[in-house]
Amino acid sequence: VNGKEEMIKKYFDMVYKLALSQTGDFHHGEDVCGDVFLKFLQAKKKFESEEHVKAWLIRVTINSAKGIFSTSWHKKTVPLEEDIMAEMPQEESEVYEEVLRLPKKYRAVIHLFYYEDMSIAEISRVLNINSSTVRSQLHRGREILKKKLKGEYDFVQ
């Protein structure tokens, strides 16, 4: 795949929103994006297709977000979730806030399923985990959200 700059432009929004869902903070989200795209530019790997690029970016984003919280500095900082939700209407803000409160592993599948419209099979392939694991993480994530949001919203599968 040629034209890495085009790919960055095309998938920036996807990587950024996924990074935000993982970090809950604008600054950390941008740090993760910078890290992911720098690795992408430096990657000597030959990407077979655009789908391959997309899957690679999602995997690296999730790994990079995990990495950013493993440093001693970030362990001491508390993400400011309110910043992200400042521009959102109230209902959207409530939903987004509860997603950010989910454990990270559930957040990733919920985000990819509901925002990126990826199927369970696609998520399974991209995250390199079993389909049944994706299904159960999605189920548990939904259950937590239902409880928190007091059954106000319908979770269409």
Partner: protein, 166 residues
């Protein structure tokens, strides 16, 4: 619907500003690291300059203090020894002080007509007496000593000078 609200929530997040910032960061990584290096070097240089300036400001005061301490340490044992010896002889009835003075002050005394000059034990001494206050300047082993005594008798004066010149 949860799906719709979550999508809308994400759409509310504007990623264009972040795109520009991230693009800048990844296309000019050297500039960022150079800026950090320049800032670090400038901070170190500022600390060194401030430290050196502060040292230059306090140095004269410190030097003066050190000189004063050295001076006191040098002359205190000598003077106290002379006064103690003199007191032991039982002839100390006057109020006496012995201080060390500079060569510059001594030169002024040498040319001051108010002082009389005489030689005791081959050492020149300069004396002056006014209103019962006796003052004597002498040079001993390269140091200038000034003796000031009030209500001192002629015998005590002679004993004191000889004790100092011993």
């Amino acid at each position: 619907l949860f799906s719709k609200l979550y999508k809308n929530a994400n759409k509310c997040i504007d990623s264009s500003g972040a795109y520009e910032r991230v693009k800048e960061k990844i296309t000019n990584p050297h500039r960022n690291s150079m800026s950090r290096t320049i800032i670090s070097v400038a901070a170190c240089f500022t600390v060194v300059v401030i430290g050196f300036s502060a040292y230059q400001i306090i140095k004269p005061g410190v030097d003066e203090d050190i000189a004063l301490v050295n001076e006191n340490m040098r002359k205190a044992p000598d003077d106290s020894h002379i006064l103690a010896d003199y007191a032991q002889e039982g002839s100390l009835s006057a109020d006496i002080s012995i201080t060390e003075e500079s060569m510059e002050s001594y030169s002024k005394i040498e040319s001051d007509p108010m002082y009389s000059k005489r030689t005791v034990k081959n050492i020149e001494i300069y004396e002056k007496e006014e209103n019962n206050q006796y003052e004597c300047w002498l040079k001993k082993e390269g140091t200038v000593k000034k003796i000031v005594a009030t209500d001192i008798s002629p015998e005590e004066k002679e004993n004191l000078i000889r004790s100092i010149l011993q």
